[in-house]
């Protein structure tokens, strides 16, 4: 049966005061069409609730979408909380409006695997997720 076993599970999260989720939903649909199970949190979540949801849903990947400019304030909190929860094996990726310097810092200092900005081909995101998840599973 198609996709009956070992689906990649992804939590897509919107954190903080940010009301725009069109981008997250487009990515969500692309991941779904690639055979993944996508859980969407809905808007305006706290860092705590996102980390708890990622743990409960036992996702392989946590995707954080931020367009509000608060990425440097919120994303490091989330990656630290995952660590504190013993859940640093959940891979974090980010998207939204994140300037290049910030993106580099998130990747080099805060454990974010990749940052996908506006205009990214969804195929690229699908392939990246498949790569990082399978890399660890095999």
């Amino acid at each position: 049966m198609v996709g009956s076993k070992n689906n990649i599970r992804v939590l897509l999260a919107k954190v903080g005061l940010d009301g725009h989720d069109r981008g997250a939903l487009i990515v969500g649909q692309a991941l779904r069409d690639a055979g993944m199970e996508v859980i969407y949190t809905g808007l305006k979540q706290t860092c705590e609730s996102v980390v708890e949801a990622a743990v409960e849903e036992d996702v392989d990947v946590l995707g954080i979408s931020i367009l509000s400019g608060a990425h440097m304030a919120l994303i490091p909190i989330i990656t630290q909380m995952l660590k504190d929860r013993g859940a640093e094996d959940i891979k974090v990726i980010a998207g939204g409006i994140i300037p290049r310097d910030d993106a580099q810092e998130l990747v080099s200092k805060h454990g974010v695997r990749a940052v996908f900005g506006p205009g990214t081909d969804t195929k690229e995101i699908v392939e990246f997720i498949e790569k990082i998840v399978k890399g660890e599973r095999i």
């Binding site: 996709g3 779904r32 690639a34 993944m36 199970e37 809905g42 708890e52």
Partner: protein, 323 residues
């Protein structure tokens, strides 16, 4: 059991959420290591009250589940929620969106929410639902709410697993003929007309009540299914629904129906496991056992019909098992 499984299992019983979540994933994926846990869980489960929520897509099941969970929390009960959404039959992917309606529960350590894709199962649940119920039960959840995929008429699998089935509908869902059709309406212990602030709500209630009252034996029935109007988005009617669930739970306990339901559930579970074991044994015998292969050959030559062939193979299998 392997070390990993062993430590996850111990974590589960000690209330560690990560362990519970990881075991659920392994069971969902049919990981052979998890079978040992399924066996062990049998001893530690059977305490929770299991509530099924089923009904039309978009009728408000997730929002109701959230409202109910909050109500149970007010009474100090812990709540597990299993929310099943459909898996695409084309790609195997799924968008699990039930959590969006449950944001108010976020961060409450007395609530555990798990979203599941149906992964090809057709009855409105996922194949592993029963095992996941047992995990949340062993994890110490007092009440487990199982929300099915948006269901129309024949997705009635939930009736096997829930102590109380709540069927959710909404105004404008069709006329009285829809209400007397077979299937999902036969499994409701409690009916909810959600979005009761919309036009036509009292008509829908009247249609449902008529359907229930026309059933033969309605007057003598020990449990009369209530029809409750709710507006889940502003918690209207949640008190009544909670009370109806309590009443039904008490009814089940006082009349001995609970034991009846539990034994039915165990039987269904046993038959499911038996089916798969017998079918594996039969396939093996048909390819390896000379006597069974002989039966198959005669079937192919049309010397014997499939029913007689099956009887003979069954005899050989039973003989083989008793030796």
């Amino acid at each position: 059991m392997s070390d990993l499984i062993d430590s996850l299992y111990r974590g589960l019983l000690q209330g560690d959420r990560r362990s519970a979540a990881r075991l659920i994933t392994m069971i969902e994926n049919g990981d052979p290591l998890s079978i040992g846990v399924v066996k062990e869980l049998h001893r530690h489960s059977g305490k929770a009250q299991i509530v099924g929520l089923t009904g039309l897509p978009g009728s408000g099941k997730s929002t109701l589940a959230c409202g109910l969970a909050k109500k149970y929390r007010e009474y100090g009960k812990t709540v597990g929620i299993i929310a099943v959404d459909p898996t695409s039959p084309f790609t195997g992917g799924a968008l699990l969106g039930d959590r969006i309606r449950m944001q108010e529960l976020a961060g409450d350590p007395g609530v555990f929410i798990r979203s599941m894709g149906s992964r090809g199962a057709l009855g409105g649940l996922a194949t592993a639902t029963n095992d996941v119920i047992n995990i949340l039960d062993a994890f110490g959840m007092d009440v487990i709410i199982v929300e099915t995929v948006g269901a129309g008429q024949v997705e009635v699998e939930i009736v096997k697993y829930a102590h109380t089935c709540v069927v959710v509908t909404m105004p404008g869902g069709g006329d009285e003929i829809q209400a007397i059709k077979a299937g999902i309406l036969e499994i409701g212990d409690i009916f909810v007309v959600n979005k009761a602030d919309k036009e036509g709500s009292s008509r829908t209630v009247a249609d449902l009540e008529m359907m229930l009252e026309m059933k033969p034996g309605f007057d003598e029935a020990p449990w009369k299914q209530p029809v409750i109007q709710t507006v889940a988005t502003n918690s209207q009617g949640i008190d009544e629904l909670h009370e109806a669930l309590d009443n039904h739970w008490r009814f089940l306990n006082e009349t001995g129906k609970l034991e009846e339901k539990t034994s039915e559930r165990m039987k269904a579970e046993l038959i499911e496991v038996l089916n798969s074991k017998v079918s594996i044994a039969a396939s093996k015998a048909l390819s390896e056992d000379p006597k069974c292969r002989e039966v198959l050959t005669r079937l192919i030559k049309r010397e014997i019909d499939p029913h007689s062939a099956a009887d003979q193979v069954a005899k050989y299998l039973i003989k083989g098992a008793s030796q």
